[in-house]
Symmetry: C3
Subunit: 437 residues, 3 copies
């Protein structure tokens, strides 16, 4: 079964809802860049794909960085003088600033305020905050909640530990016909936030599950890592594998209803950049392609000058450009099954381009071959778009000169890669094309 | 006499009308890709230029194709039960589908209808149809004519033959100072259609006639061929000559009142592409330059990947973009003498660019030479555009560094090639430029 | 003290007025391409900078040209029959056509008119005219003045000499750490005209004065020359120095209130072209960048094909595009201190780009270095634009791969060169960058 026939089948499937169900199941877990929440997440993903879990000890040197202590949290709250939990980690794990030190003390409201974070411009939302590399503690809450706090003495408790342990990450390597790799990387270090990053986790996992059942040209490597420190750790420990990465995508923010956005690799004109731009151009939906800049997700590390991998970032609305980003409003309502499924389809189409982007040579390069005597007009005729297909076939024959790859042809002819690829296959069947230069 | 002085003289000549008279004379002939009509056309052209007529036997293998049987038609009609010719080939040769098999039978109206072709959207026009590579027969007629047919028995007669014979084409080789060739190719296989293709035949023939009387840098090859199979045949039998083609133009649809349209060669940035674009840009009239696509006229074959010749197609309104295309409305009223003459002028200017596009070197490359002491301000002064000409002269002196050709200079200075060329000649006369790098 | 700290200091200085005072002092002098007026100008400039004065004898062959005779004028007038000076050189030196032959004769009004030049479209302005290379004489006057002349006999006197002598020019060579030179060239051959060319003289002289007190990467050569013949003479006598010119600017018309205009070098993409375009783009003011054309100031000679130096021309309103150009209205009112100062700032910023445009390499090219542990967020934080600066720092780290120069980085990041340069210096201090590839 060809990959895009499968995709057609998927369209009538329940894929979007399946991804939503995974997201809903992962949502309550309190993830951070290390610790139990991250491990629990990987365990659930192992139900879908045979993910290998790596544990890297605290203190391991990874380039200019050091693997941090492991953070775990069991409970946290702020109780008022009546002993009521006015802020309760059990209700929403965003209430605690990530990597907060353990705390247990009585404080006045004024003292407490120095450790409280709110979003006055969205007074009902709880912000998401972390303090990875400075030792501190804090609570996040909605601004309205904050305004309602009365001037009294509070019991503050963060029952957490920050100790020597491990950084965990998940890796799934799917071997293909060649050792050249396509890297699919997502960060999995955020607590109850849906679009950033559960949508990316779900899409990556289902993509891996889907690809497992296919014969693949490229080998694929799926990484489920903590942001920044995770990609740095993986790169530091896997330089040989990194050198085999031919194309790559960082997956993030793929469930919101915004248009697709592709941030190019540092190279700017890599095959992955052209493949994504081509697929988006022919997607029939609004989209945006933006240039690389050295901020954002883990593409920052993959595209550092010492690696300069051909890795872009394919999202819907970019981080920081939607108000719900890094707040409690990035919840199960922001992410929609049909958007997840649409993103999945775009990803799959991009991979199909990469998988099929070969060079062919015309067996009759001098003048057009006579298509009529081979029934090739008939083969494509009948439908109303047969003139379009005939022109596409002439493009393939004209440009298969051993220099152009199929994506070059699709770009120059301004015709969807899938059409070009199908015709190339048909022409190979009729001995009018052969593989290679 | 310089080529563009001659052109100026032509403007006051009767060239447009001369071309119209040739078109009117060729119009009644029933041409097809083989047969007597094609030969008769070549014979008439031989009155203008010493055309060599080639006859290629049926069955000759030409790359992936085979030279077809020769088709000849003497008469054809459909008679009603009263014995009146309701459709008569003698009145209009478009009535018979090209390459129709000989037929002589009685048919009911219903039977007949399966072999009739009309254009409902233009109910007074007769379409032009062929059936080269499937053995069948048919008639074309106006839709109003078709609607008036009564339900009776008809006598159908196509007195034609489809037999082993020859494919004919005309070739005129005009040797120049070098063996590098400029190819001028037109198809001559259409019956009573004026813009497509009699306008191209007339322009090519008069261009050949004009160039014969000049000393030429390039050798010129004029081809009058049946479309597709003709260029394939010529290429198959003349691979060595094809390798000498440095620039080329396919001539078609050059008599209608639409704007000039240039379809670039497959290479896209060949000298011919730049020369035509430059001439059109400075023509003072609307024009369009479009990218190559592998459909259209014989540029499809010249630009097949095994040849990839620098051959574009210079037309007025492109095929298929005017309603009269391939109908009886493409008649002597569609083509206008002033449009033919204008097209001729554009072609001649393009050839002048190619002929004169040499490299020169300044003899005083360091700082400007002193023009005043050589009277070179005077030489160009007086007229109101003397400041423009002075700037043009400075451009020529500045850019004649042995790297740039005159067209490079004309493009960068955004000044008509003719002006640049005249000034280069003047500066050579004053020993301020010398030929070559 | 860094060059741009100095510039900041300048902003509160009196530089614009200082330049205006120099212009006012030079204004009354009757300069031409040779003679006492030119020498007097150089003598005044020697008060500011240790200018070397060169004297090239009449008749010296300089490429295709010959150094002309020296022209000096003491007095000139036209007296009416009452003995009154109706035109008086002492009142305005524009009244005499430059390089006029000595004359002393009585003429009728009609005879006189053949030697009078006016500007009917600006009836109160006196035009500026010269007759360098044809031996003639003439007077310029306002059109209203001309219309008031009565029909009588006039005494004409031009007390001038055109004799074997010298062409003078000023040169100031400021050695830097390398022998590669930046050429700053201005013409100084116009009489009482302010924007063209006193503004250029003033800016060049103060630029030289400013740079003297700094340690410089490049050596600088400042030329104060007569237009055309001066640059030709310098190039002819200094071919070795010309070969060391790495970047250059022709300075002219830098005092009017129009927007900055940069005319690119003949190369079009030289480092100077990119540096000026970058600085203007980030100047916050309207500007225009135009392509090279072989007309204008001395860039015509520097960019002749035998030299093809990377020399552009950085002006405000280009010559010929403001009505006051080459008239008595190009006076002390047209040039404004704030415009001179603004032009000076642009020039200095351009030189700062050239001085600082080095290659650096990241010491930690694999993944981002950890900025937090080095206090580098703190180093740039605090101000409201700290996020911008952080992104700029990431750009520097990402693109300092030993291939890019800082200007490449500034262009790609679309961030002012000064910001990039400061951050590169900061990162060198923290051992995160090192010089060189």
């Amino acid at each position: 079964m060809k990959m895009h026939d499968v995709q057609a089948a998927l369209c009538t499937s329940d894929l979007g809802n399946e991804m939503m169900r995974l997201i809903a199941r992962l949502f309550p877990i309190c993830r951070s860049i290390t610790g139990k929440g991250f491990r629990d997440t990987l365990t659930i993903l192992q139900e879908l794909i045979p993910l290998q879990v790596h544990e890297v000890p605290t203190g391991t040197l990874v380039f200019d960085w050091t693997v941090p202590k492991e953070w775990n949290i069991r409970d946290a709250y702020i109780k008022n003088s009546s002993g009521e939990r006015v802020i309760d980690f059990q209700k929403c794990n965003l209430h605690v600033v990530g990597y907060s030190l353990p705390v247990r003390k009585r404080v006045s409201l004024d003292e407490l305020k120095a450790h409280l974070f709110t979003l006055p411009e969205y007074p009902d939302w709880i912000p998401y905050r972390t303090a990875y590399y400075k030792e501190d503690w804090g609570f996040c809450l909605s601004h309205n909640h904050f305004l309602a706090l009365t001037d009294e003495t509070y019991d503050v408790c963060i029952d957490a530990s920050l100790e020597t342990g491990h950084l965990s990450y998940g890796e799934y390597y799917l071997p293909g016909r060649t050792e050249n790799e396509i890297l699919i990387s997502c960060h999995a270090c955020h607590p109850s936030l849906c679009n950033d990053n559960l949508s990316g986790i779900a899409l990556s996992a289902f993509l891996a599950k889907f690809l497992r059942t296919h014969s693949l040209r490229y080998s694929y490597r799926f990484l489920f890592i903590p942001g920044t420190i995770g990609s740095i750790t993986w790169l530091a420990l896997n330089e040989k594998a990194a050198a085999r990465v031919t194309h790559g995508l960082v997956v993030a923010g793929v469930g919101d209803p915004g248009k697709m956005t592709y941030k190019k690799s540092r190279r700017g004109n890599a095959e992955i950049d052209r493949a994504v731009a081509h697929v988006l151009q022919h997607s029939g939906a609004p989209y945006e392609v933006i240039d690389f800049f050295p901020y954002g997700y883990d593409e920052r590390q993959y595209c550092s000058p010492g690696f300069d991998l051909a890795v872009g970032c394919l999202m819907r609305t970019p981080h920081g450009r939607y108000p719900e980003y890094h707040t409690s409003a990035d919840n199960l309502n922001l992410v929609r099954p049909e958007c997840l499924e649409n993103s999945f389809g775009i990803y799959l189409t991009v991979l199909r381009v990469l998988e099929g982007n070969f060079k062919f040579s015309a067996t009759h390069p001098k003048c057009e071959p006579q298509l009529g005597k081979r029934g090739l007009y008939a083969a494509i005729g009948g439908s109303t778009d047969s003139a379009k297909k005939q022109l596409a076939m002439l493009w393939v024959l004209n440009l298969c000169d051993g220099q152009n790859r199929l994506l070059d042809i699709a770009e120059r002819a301004n015709i969807h890669f899938d059409v070009i690829k199908d015709l190339a296959d048909l022409l190979v069947d009729h001995n009018l094309l052969k593989a290679g230069p």
